[in-house]
Symmetry: C2
DNA sequence: TGCTACCTGAGAACGGTTCTCATGGTGCGA
DNA sequence: TCGCACCATGAGAACCGTTCTCAGGTAGCA
C-alpha cells in the first residue's frame, strides 16, 4: 500500500483540475506556481503510479509522456486536440473487436492496441480559421 | 532535392532488408557490422527523411523511435510483435470511418489517428509457452 | 510517543536524439 | 570533362525528458 503524502495528493488534485493531457514537467511547474514545493522526481513518481493503478491515462507525444485524470475501471480511448491538449474520452467497441480479430487472424496472441484520434477541437478550429484568413 | 549518397542508399537498403521495426541505433549497428562506415547522425537523418517522404513508417516504443520500410502511397496500420518487432501491414477500413465519425461528432476538425495492434507473433508465442511451462 | 520502513527532493546520471562545425563529395554549369 | 558552390557527412558535444542516488524526513502503526 502506498503511503498518503500531501505530495501525492497534490499531484492527484492538480491532474484532476487539468482539462487535457499534460506533461510531468508542466504539472510540476503548475504546482510550483501555486506555492507547492513538491519535487520534480516526486511528480514523475506519482504520475507513474497513478497510470499504473489506472487512475491516469498516458500517451507519448513528441518524445514527452502526457498524463490525464481517468475514470478508473473503464477501458476507453481519447479524442485529443493537437493544439491545446483537450481530450474527450470515447468508447471504441467496434475497434476493440476488430483489433482482437486482426490479431487472431495472423496468429498473434495476447493482443493489445493503441488507438488515439487527434484533431483540432472546436475552439482551436475557430482560431485556426481566423489565422488562415489573415 | 536530396543528394544521392551511398550512405542514404545504405540506410534505405538496410531498412528494406529488415523484417520488422528497428531503431536507428540498431540499424546503425547492423550497418557497421557489415563494414559500412556510415555515421549514427546520418542514419538518424536518413530515417527521418524516409519517414517524411512516406517511404518509412515509424512508431515510438519505450522512448525509442522505430522504423520500418513501407509500401509508399498506401495508408495502413501495423500488427506488431512486442517481443521481436516483426510487423504485418493491415488495412483498417472500418476504423478509418469510425475515427472520422468520432471526430466529427465532437466538432473536431482535421482528424488523424494512431492505430497499432501489438501482440506476440506465432514464433514468440511458442517461445513464451515453452518458458512458461518450465 | 517511538520505531521503522518507506517517501521525498536536489542533483547527478542516463539514453535517445539533435546540434555543431570542419571536412569532403555531389550535382551542375561552363 | 573540369571546377566550383553548396550541401551532406560524422565525431563528439549538447540537449532534454526521465530515472537514479542517497541522505534526511515522515506516515503509519503499536
Ligand atoms: Mn480499446
Ligand atoms: Mn488508418
Ligand atoms: Zn484545442
Ligand atoms: Zn515475435
Amino acid at each position: 500500500m502506498k503511503r498518503n503524502t500531501w505530495q501525492r495528493e497534490a499531484v492527484r488534485e492538480a491532474l484532476s483540475r487539468t482539462e487535457g493531457f499534460v506533461s510531468a514537467q508542466a504539472l510540476h511547474a503548475s504546482l510550483r506556481g501555486t506555492g507547492s514545493e513538491v519535487g520534480l522526481a516526486t511528480v514523475y513518481r506519482a504520475l507513474a503510479d497513478l497510470a499504473q493503478e489506472g487512475e491516469a491515462d498516458s500517451l507519448v507525444q513528441e518524445g514527452e509522456s502526457l498524463y490525464r485524470a481517468c475514470t478508473p475501471g473503464s477501458h476507453h480511448h481519447h479524442l485529443i486536440c493537437r493544439s491545446c491538449g483537450t481530450a474527450v474520452e470515447i468508447s471504441a467497441d467496434p475497434v476493440e473487436a476488430w483489433a482482437r480479430q486482426v490479431a487472431a487472424e495472423h496468429g498473434f496472441t495476447r493482443p493489445e492496441h493503441v488507438v488515439d484520434v487527434f484533431g483540432l477541437c472546436p475552439e482551436c478550429s475557430a482560431s485556426a480559421d481566423e489565422t488562415a484568413s489573415d
